[in-house]
């Protein structure tokens, strides 16, 4: 099986790469044209944030950046399917999800600039911290979902109360023990968790075929819950499929797996060089399936927004990028002194002594400098 083409019979698609809406026997996008325009906005802003962050890394302002280029529809479609109580456990690439959830994008840059390990309030935003240990967060998501159930927030039939969890991960992560254990736990306890796999075809240099001999969405069947493969570059289909899975989870129907079939258009991170392991042809094929262009085409054809919408959106995106750049270069590290207090709830005497010794040591330089 080719790693970069999905069998069309098992791929849920509601918007073709050419921007034509198509019907699917099971899934339907019921949102308004305004919402479609909103999804385009989310994707454009996500891509602009990503482009700016990549540039900031190239200019030495970030230590590293993990690009989402090409995965905008998978991220925005799933994020916009979330209900008011749903909680997200991301990897380290879900920048567009973060934007949709109201995370200030500057807080995403802190981790990559090396000033913190995620500066946003995970509780308030319902967007948990990025997790760099591949797949570890899927277990946290599962435990959180089990806790929701214990809190009586699953299957009440009230949208105001019921909640579910989305665990994001990639194709490489499906080989991890933690992800498979999360599948087992979620299935065993019927936990309200949606496993959202962005299959972007590459785990750094390793193609999908190295991780799995069967389509990833079919893995779920072995664990006892449904799986579906969706065109990850089709924001309408991703939203429809994720909404269905979340509703099922919130209603007490248990976990499900979504494989968003997409493509990592950029490098794994700014440290990576994809020219060493993949062909330019493949990239070109996927460029024709761009998640943003097809929505632009749809909106232009339908005429539901005027040309000024697109112009204003470009301006908004550039403003976002400029603001991000301005704030990024000002981001300073917190200083070692302030970190000693973050290790324990009740600090140990031993660490307190180290904190004091460090402060005295550091102060001695300042006093020396002051006396000169």
């Amino acid at each position: 099986m080719s790693t970069t083409t999905a069998d069309e019979t098992d791929l849920v698609q509601l918007l073709t790469p050419e921007g034509v809406r198509v019907e699917h026997p099971e899934y339907e996008f019921t949102g308004s044209d305004e919402e479609i325009a909103g999804h385009l906005r989310d994707m454009v802003l996500g891509r602009r944030l990503d482009t700016e962050a990549t540039a900031l890394q190239r200019q030495g302002e970030l230590g590293l950046w993990a690009s989402l280029l090409g995965q905008e529809a998978a991220q925005v479609g799933s994020a916009r399917a979330l209900g008011p109580n749903d909680v997200v456990f991301p990897t380290y690439r879900e920048h567009a999800v973060a934007l949709c959830m109201g995370v200030d994008p500057i807080d995403l840059l802190g981790l990559f600039r090396g000033v913190d390990m995620g500066g946003w309030d995970a509780e308030a935003t319902r967007f948990r911290l990025y997790t760099l240990v591949i797949g570890a967060q899927t277990l946290h998501a599962c435990g959180y979902a089990m806790a929701l159930e214990r809190d009586g927030l699953v299957g009440n039939g009230t949208k105001a109360e019921d909640a579910a969890v989305v665990a994001y991960f990639g194709d490489g992560a499906t080989s991890q023990g933690d992800v498979n254990e999360a599948f087992v736990f979620a299935s065993s306890y019927n936990a309200p968790v949606v496993f959202f796999c962005q299959n972007n075809q590459w785990a750094i240099s390793e193609p999908m075929s190295r991780q799995s001999r069967i389509p990833l969405y079919q893995r779920s069947l072995g664990f006892g819950f449904p799986g579906v493969r969706v065109d990850g570059n089709d924001v309408l289909a991703v939203r429809a499929v994720t909404e269905r899975a979340l509703e099922r989870a919130r209603n007490g129907g248990g976990p499900s797996l979504i494989e968003a079939f997409t493509y990592r258009m950029g490098a794994h991170t700014t440290s990576d060089d994809p020219s060493k392991y993949r062909l330019a042809d493949e990239l070109e094929t996927w460029r024709l399936r761009d998640p943003i262009e097809r929505v632009r085409a749809l909106l232009r054809t339908s005429g539901s927004v005027g040309e000024s919408f697109f112009r204003d959106l470009e301006t908004e995106a550039d403003d976002l990028a400029a603001d991000l750049r301005r704030r990024c270069v000002q981001l300073q590290g917190p200083g070692l002194r302030s970190l000693f207090g973050n290790v324990y709830g009740e600090q140990t005497e031993y660490l307190a002594a180290q904190q004091q010794a460090y402060a005295e040591y550091a102060d001695s330089f300042e006093m020396e400098a002051g006396s000169r």
Binding site: A136, T138, G177, Y344
Partner: protein, 324 residues
């Protein structure tokens, strides 16, 4: 005051914690109907329900990883790892997630998770069932590590660990599970992270914890018959170490022998030795000596008696200390 085995005292401590706080959950393999392979959780699922005393799938990383998620939602999970040698599949979740989450969130996210691990040898078990992994966890910032040596400590320290907002590795000396002792449920317990002098003496300080406290007390009793006065310090808390209690004792005796089952190289004995040297340099009459497991994987059980520190090896080290 009641007389309980350590196993029953742990059970009573867990029960009291479950009663005191509805957010306390127990998770682990076989902890429900069976009550755990050592019966530490016996009867708890029956009384508190399957939603609070949770039989988990057979996956250690999953047990700890889901506990992290539950803690993020305000629960206080107490997980059971069935045996010491089976904690390693969960090592990543413990070291990279449980231990670091508070730090990674600038102090916002507490991780009140207790990870119970029956540890140590001396029960004639097959491989992977007799290990002492305390140094791995004591080395990890963000974790706290404790171990009990008496039923009374088992009862109180379990409740204190569950009440702690920091993650606790709770090591249970499995060969002492059936030792009996007095438990006063109305007493005011020692603070969790404090060592105690289990026996006073003047000639040499024995520093021990968990299963080796009993061994050292026996050694001290035997030494007394030869006119030697050994002080036994029960560390109780391995991270943080209660340095002050250790230093007070060694400044008095001038000699220290550290005793643990874990392999010697870079074990707790190394850290204790360093701290004693830093704080007691001018009081020391002899180098700090260590009686520990030899630096090999835990051996087959037919030879564990030769491998494990026992009364004779402790007294031999005492002789060497006094010979200086």
């Amino acid at each position: 005051m009641t007389t309980l085995t350590m196993a029953k005292a742990l059970n009573a401590g867990l029960r009291r914690a479950l009663e005191a706080d509805p957010k306390v959950l127990l998770c682990g393999q076989d902890i429900g109907k069976l009550g755990g392979v050592f019966r530490i959780t016996e009867g708890l699922q029956k009384d508190f329900g399957e939603h609070r005393v949770i039989d988990s799938p057979l996956a250690e990383s999953g047990i700890v990883g889901t506990a992290v998620g539950m803690a993020m939602r305000g629960y206080r999970p107490v997980v059971e790892i069935q045996f010491d040698g089976f904690v390693f599949p969960a090592y990543d979740q413990i070291v990279s997630q449980v231990a670091k989450l508070r730090f990674r969130t600038q102090g916002r996210q507490s991780m009140p998770v207790v990870i119970r691990i029956p540890f140590g040898g001396g029960i004639g078990a097959v491989e992977h069932h007799s290990e002492s992994p305390e140094a791995y966890f004591s080395h990890t910032p963000g974790l706290k590590v404790v171990t009990c040596s008496t039923p009374s400590d088992a009862y109180w320290m379990m409740q204190q660990s569950i009440a702690s907002d920091d993650p606790i590795i709770f090591l249970e000396p499995k060969r002492r599970y059936h030792d009996k002792g007095e438990v006063d449920v109305d007493a005011t317990p020692l603070p969790l992270h404090q060592a105690t002098v289990a026996r006073e003496g003047t000639d040499v300080t024995l520093l021990a914890y968990g299963p080796m406290v009993r061994t050292c007390l026996d050694a001290a009793a035997a030494a007394e018959e030869e006119g030697r006065s050994l002080e036994v310090v029960d560390l109780r808390t391995l991270s943080p170490i209660d340095t002050a209690t250790v230093v007070r004792s060694v400044q008095k005796t001038g000699r220290a022998v550290v005793v643990h089952e874990a392999q010697q190289n870079l074990g707790l004995g190394a850290e204790l030795s360093a701290r004693i040297t830093e704080h007691c340099f001018y009081s020391l009459e002899a180098p700090v000596l260590r009686v520990a497991g030899y630096d090999m994987p835990y051996p087959p059980s037919r030879v564990e008696d030769e491998y494990l520190p026992d009364l004779d090896r402790v007294l031999d080290a005492v002789d060497r200390s006094l010979a200086h």
